[in-house]
């Protein structure tokens, strides 16, 4: 049932309808021209200018009323209309806007086109232009949202994109929306996949044209595979002789992958490239203010992304140094030497930082069981050799005949640590015996079980390869060619059961979910190196519970180093986990000579074998 309005209201509505629907067509005429000139846009320059904004002049539409029409208006309204007549049909429209620069053509083509059309190439670069553009157009910061959202673009990428987790979609969006970003997800959550897809999205949207991925040598081929699998990207490695690399830098389009050392060697050529995005996968290369760090920071770019599961391994200054690449000037030079308080670091880093933990986002990921280090007792020859070496060095130091520098001390410590792993002359190794027995049990219990042994020394790798020849182990270390490394990993994934790996060459970035047993044969100087290494297995795609074992020789330098490592693990949690990595060299640099000498001091705790 409808309720009719009262007659008086109906009359007023009818009159209003007549005035409003009949009058405008009769008493105004449409303007033939506009008063103001049409807004003029800046043209895109030949340089890396992503967005050109413009502010516009006001456009006025003057609709003049016919006087004779006004007589039919009620008196008060007619008076009002008469007084305001010039402004009745006037709407002031201020137009702003943007002409998006496309990146689908190489810059030389754009330059050639610019020459052909006589476009002034002396226009300012994007970074110089930004402040002025913002002043002219206060809305210029909003226009990036006009690009298709990541979900819309991923629909067209590869079939693997359909299997993305929600946290991965969120990570992709984070990267797409941030020019300066650090993705610090736990190892194994798919940082490479997220970065590949985000890169592909930006390339499809023509926001990126050339991309440089900097990663350790061991990850180069993995990057090529993952970029193709996840995002259909064709990435090309920069490798070969200096002449070949120079040709590759200049001619490879799209995504190129290079190691930090190659970037350092070719830095003059790299600086001349027009990279839109530089990605550092594994940030340990950025933590020390050395040549590599300076070279990487100096690469001209529009976007800077970092990928790292462990952005802080030893000290908060690391994070400040890494962020200098991600967002220049976030921390001053002094703050990169001595970091500000924890809350200050977190507050500054947070807008550019995304970290998710496996336990939070992969509820169905099997557990990782990390046991306390197993304490072992050395066999007689091994122990005698250790004590002899320890005593000789210490006596020489105490007698003053040995002048110890840091390099000397590290050499002595490494010598002792190597004896803890195995005795070269006798071939005795308490660890090899223990781990060998464990491996027999693991392989017998389930034919599908696979194990990885991580060690710091290539000598140890070859020793274990000979000792465990009945397991037909595969060996992977930094001295191998990229092709050989790739073959070893493929063989391990397909058929082999035991993989012996150098922690330095293999600890970061690799996907080895086929293995579920990890053995740290010796200790690293950095707890994060161990965590990185074991997470090669404990990552997305792992089906079994991962067991991690480590070993410490009783009454030796290993025991003392283990105590220090435990302390350092606590600091990582303070800085990074609340928001959301370091190499041997940086760890070593933070040890005072006194601390190191203290490590060398012979143990007062007698070993069981020594009692024999």
């Amino acid at each position: 049932m409808t309720v009719s309005p009262p007659p008086s209201l109906r009359w007023r509505r009818g009159l209003r309808w007549w005035f409003l629907h009949r009058l405008p067509g009769q008493w105004y005429r449409r303007p033939p021209v506009r008063e103001a000139p049409i807004p003029v846009l800046d043209r895109p320059s030949a340089g890396a200018v992503p967005l050109i904004t413009c502010s516009a002049t006001t456009v006025r539409f003057d609709l003049r009323a016919y006087a004779e029409s006004l007589v039919v208006l009620p008196l008060p309204l007619a008076f009002d209309v008469y007084v305001k007549a010039p402004s009745l049909g006037r709407f002031d429209v201020r137009v702003f806007g943007i002409l998006f620069r496309t990146r689908e053509r190489p810059s030389d083509e754009i330059t050639a086109a610019a020459d052909a059309f006589g476009i002034d190439r002396s226009l300012p670069h994007a970074r110089e232009l930004t402040a002025a553009a913002r002043e002219r157009n206060p809305y210029s910061g909003l226009y990036a949202q006009l690009y298709p959202p990541p979900e819309e673009v991923t629909l067209d990428l590869t079939p693997d994109c359909e299997r993305l987790h929600n946290y991965q979609v969120e990570g992709i969006r984070f990267l797409v929306e941030h020019e300066h970003a650090m993705l610090a997800d736990d190892m194994g959550l798919g940082k490479t996949a997220q970065c590949s897809i985000a890169t592909a999205i930006l390339m499809r949207s023509e926001r990126l044209r050339r991309v440089l991925i900097i990663c350790p040598k061991s990850l180069v081929y993995q990057w090529l595979d993952e970029a193709s699998r996840w995002a259909g990207l064709i990435a090309r490695p920069i490798e070969g002789t200096a002449w070949e690399r120079c040709h590759q830098w200049a001619n490879y389009p799209g995504v190129v992958v290079a190691t930090p050392n190659i970037v350092l060697n070719d830095i003059e050529v790299v600086r001349k490239q027009d990279f839109d995005l530089v990605v550092c996968d594994d940030v340990s290369m950025l933590k020390n203010p050395g040549k590599i760090t300076s070279a990487i920071r100096s690469i001209p770019r529009e976007r800077s992304w970092c990928l790292s599961g462990t952005p802080l391994e030893n000290k908060p200054e690391d994070l400040a140094n890494v962020m200098e690449f991600v967002h220049k000037g976030l921390f001053s030079a002094d703050e990169r030497e001595v970091a500000p308080p924890l809350d200050v670091v977190q507050a500054r880093v947070r807008p550019f930082f995304l970290r998710r933990r496996k336990t939070d986002v992969l509820k169905d990921l099997p557990r990782k069981v990390v046991g306390e280090p197993v304490t072992l007792h050395m066999r007689s020859h091994q122990l005698q050799a250790y004590r002899r070496a320890e005593r000789q060095r210490w006596e020489s130091y105490e007698s003053g005949s040995l002048t110890l520098t840091r390099v000397h001390v590290f050499a002595l410590i490494n010598e002792l640590l190597q004896i803890c792993s195995f005795h070269k002359e006798s071939g005795e190794s308490a660890k090899a015996e223990e781990v060998g027995e464990q491996l027999e049990i693991v392989f017998d219990s389930d034919a599908s079980n696979k194990a990885i042994i991580f060690t710091r020394w290539i000598d140890t790798l070859h020793f274990l390869e000979r000792r465990w020849c009945h397991f037909s182990p595969l060996v992977y270390h930094g001295g191998m060619s990229a092709g050989d490394r790739k073959d070893v990993l493929e063989k391990f994934r397909k058929s082999a059961r035991l993989l012996l790996m150098s922690v330095k060459a293999a600890g970061r970035g690799l996907n080895l979910q086929e293995a579920s047993y990890v053995y740290h044969f010796d200790l690293t100087w950095n707890p994060m190196d161990q965590r990185q290494a074991e997470d090669r297995c404990w990552r997305y795609g792992q089906k079994k519970t991962v067991f991690v074992y480590s070993y410490v020789q009783k009454g030796t330098i290993e025991e003392r180093i283990h105590q220090v490592l435990r302390r350092k693990s606590v600091m990582f949690g303070d800085y990074v986990d609340t928001l959301a990595e370091d190499t041997d060299e940086t760890v070593k640099a933070k040890w005072s000579i006194e601390e190191l000498i203290e490590l060398l001091r012979p143990s007062t705790i007698p070993s069981r074998s020594s009692d024999l």
Binding site: L20, V59, V93, F96, G97, I98, L99, Q145, L146, P148
Partner: protein, 180 residues
């Protein structure tokens, strides 16, 4: 073309030119146009039509450096920009229906020609169907050809939402500037 009306009753118009993959090429938008009370009273229901046809539409369209092959409007902004589109063929009204039975003949604007619905591909996982009412003018079918090409590479509807999102933020920014 799309519009947004702020809580302060200011009208914002936007026109986004994309390529056939949905990648933005050019965007123009207005600041808020706030009709006076007298204008609201005099124009009444024809206010939005007049704003779109006489003010926002021409201002945005004339500011473009890139000329689009076809002008598009969705159901939400038909009231504002429909008449302007009718005057600038080829142009089309895009409507998403959950039931294809709803797609009868329709007009882009109240004074426009009655047009038949032509189904296009909607690049989303949903079961909704996309229909276009195309006013070709004397373009010889150029409007449909442009849409048929674009439907393969982009979601034809999502740009309208993105324009409104930006316009809403333009409105907020403008308010903040006025206050600040």
């Amino acid at each position: 073309m799309a519009h947004y009306v702020s809580p302060q009753r200011a009208y914002y118009g936007g026109i986004l030119v994309t390529n056939a993959k949905g990648v933005p090429r050019e965007f123009r938008h207005s600041e808020g146009v706030r009709p006076t009370k007298l204008q609201e009273a005099l124009y009444g229901d024809s206010l939005e039509l007049s704003l779109g046809l006489d003010a926002l539409g021409p201002a945005l369209y004339d500011a473009l450096q890139l000329r689009p092959d076809v002008l598009l409007v969705d159901a939400e902004s038909r009231q504002v920009f429909g008449s302007f589109l009718d005057a600038h063929p080829p142009a089309a009204l895009l409507v998403v229906y959950d039931d294809p039975e709803k797609a009868f003949a329709d007009t882009i604007s109240p004074e426009g020609n009655l047009l038949g619905a032509r189904e296009l591909q909607l690049k989303t996982p949903s079961k909704d169907r996309l229909f276009a009412y195309i006013e070709e003018g004397d373009s010889g079918g150029a409007g449909f050809r442009a849409l048929a090409d674009a439907q393969k590479g982009m979601n034809l509807v999502s740009p309208f939402q993105r324009i409104r999102l930006v316009l809403a933020q333009v409105a907020e920014t403008e308010q903040d500037r006025k206050k600040g």
